[in-house]
Symmetry: C2
Subunit: 205 residues, 2 copies
DNA sequence: TCCAAAATAGACCGACCGGTCTATATAGAC
DNA sequence: GTCTATATAGACCGGTCGGTCTATTTTGGA
């Protein structure tokens, strides 16, 4: 155990942060696999190996607050994965191709239990808890923005870039829906290919 | 057993069919709006104005059986709407454009409570009840097949047609997810436009 | 008309839901 | 060491869940 933890973050927040993030991770996984309503607090607590008291200590707002945190976290993972691809590959077309392979890998690696961590809750809560909707909206927005920025940097107009980025996310999200029901990552790989071609073509235009 | 059974549509099935379909319709609407797990039987019964006894009379398998019937019904609606567009418009590109406008209209007309009647349940039950998964899979398959047939008739190879049809459905499904969270039908209209262009281009190739 | 099947009606059940509450343990500040 | 957050721990609550069960009403064929 390190002797000094002071620096900028108070030492007392170390364990606090760890417990919080364990809860968020467990919740995000379960919501991703089976949705928000179908996931009971007891299930989350089991996976996080925590008592109920801790949950309501870290998230006084209960399930909704935890859900919002989980959506925010999931959105960041999505966005960071995409951003990493945008940096490592030069073009957005290649980044989308790689990103779709990431998604396909997630599907296969989880036996098709894990698609988009946000979409399941997005659909069932679209007209539900405002806090959840807000977190979900900003998660999607972040992904679109990241892609849109790159598309703009490649010479497209901001309007066209935003359209294209939204379309890419649409296609990948939908492909994840089909992929999970078909238990095949083919729709996602297909979508990645089609989008890469589309983006390349639109660059030439 | 009596030897009756005559004809194929006995009068006794009129009211029976009506009750069944009222339940299916109510269930399909609620599942579409808020998902399978979040919808209680009492809520379905309220909307259908039926007692619980009737539900278990028509659907001895309970919620799962009703859910499967609702998904099947919803899939047919989706497929018939698309098929109608495929017939009325000559080309698949125009049909997709019109179909996406249908979807956008559904969204706006319901204040964004109604997106794809199948997708919500598809995500939350992807690794859940097998009967539901089967109904959902065949619903999607029917839509893809209808579109794929038209694309093939227009001269594409069956493989290419199937790829393209899957991609179209992916893009529209994903667009519906974004549209509901953004409370705007723009993503759907955009997707329709992009797909129409894509299909037209692929015809020239 | 009469009757069995079909359909409606809803009370009732155990299980589990999200949430509250009190009690205990742990750790950093002084 | 002592004191006070902070965090862990889990019993407990009212409500609702899906599902079962027993009546009663309706209905169409004989």
């Amino acid at each position: 155990m390190p002797t000094s933890e002071h620096a900028e973050a108070p030492a007392s927040s170390r364990k606090r942060g760890e417990s919080r993030s364990r809860l968020i991770t467990a919740a995000a996984q379960l919501f991703q696999e089976q949705g928000y309503a179908a996931t009971g607090l007891s299930e989350i607590l089991d996976r996080a190996k925590m008592p109920k008291g801790s949950l309501y200590h870290h998230f006084p707002g209960g399930k909704v607050e935890l859900g919002a945190a989980a959506m925010e976290c999931a959105g960041q993972v999505l966005q960071q994965t995409l951003s990493a691809r945008l940096e490592s590959r030069g073009s957005s077309a290649e980044a989308i191709r790689a990103f779709s392979q990431d998604l396909a890998g997630w599907l296969e690696g989880s036996d098709f239990t894990k698609g988009c961590p946000v979409a399941t809750v997005a659909l069932e809560q679209a007209n539900g808890e405002p806090d959840l909707v807000a977190a979900i909206r900003s998660a999607f927005e972040g992904v679109i923005q990241a892609l849109s920025d790159q598309l703009t940097a490649e010479g497209r107009t901001p309007e066209r870039a935003h359209r294209l980025a939204t379309f890419c996310l649409s296609a990948l999200e939908g492909a994840l829906v089909l992929a999970r029901t078909q238990r095949s990552s083919e729709p996602v790989r297909m979508a990645g290919e089609e989008l890469a071609v589309l983006i390349s073509d639109s660059a030439r235009a």
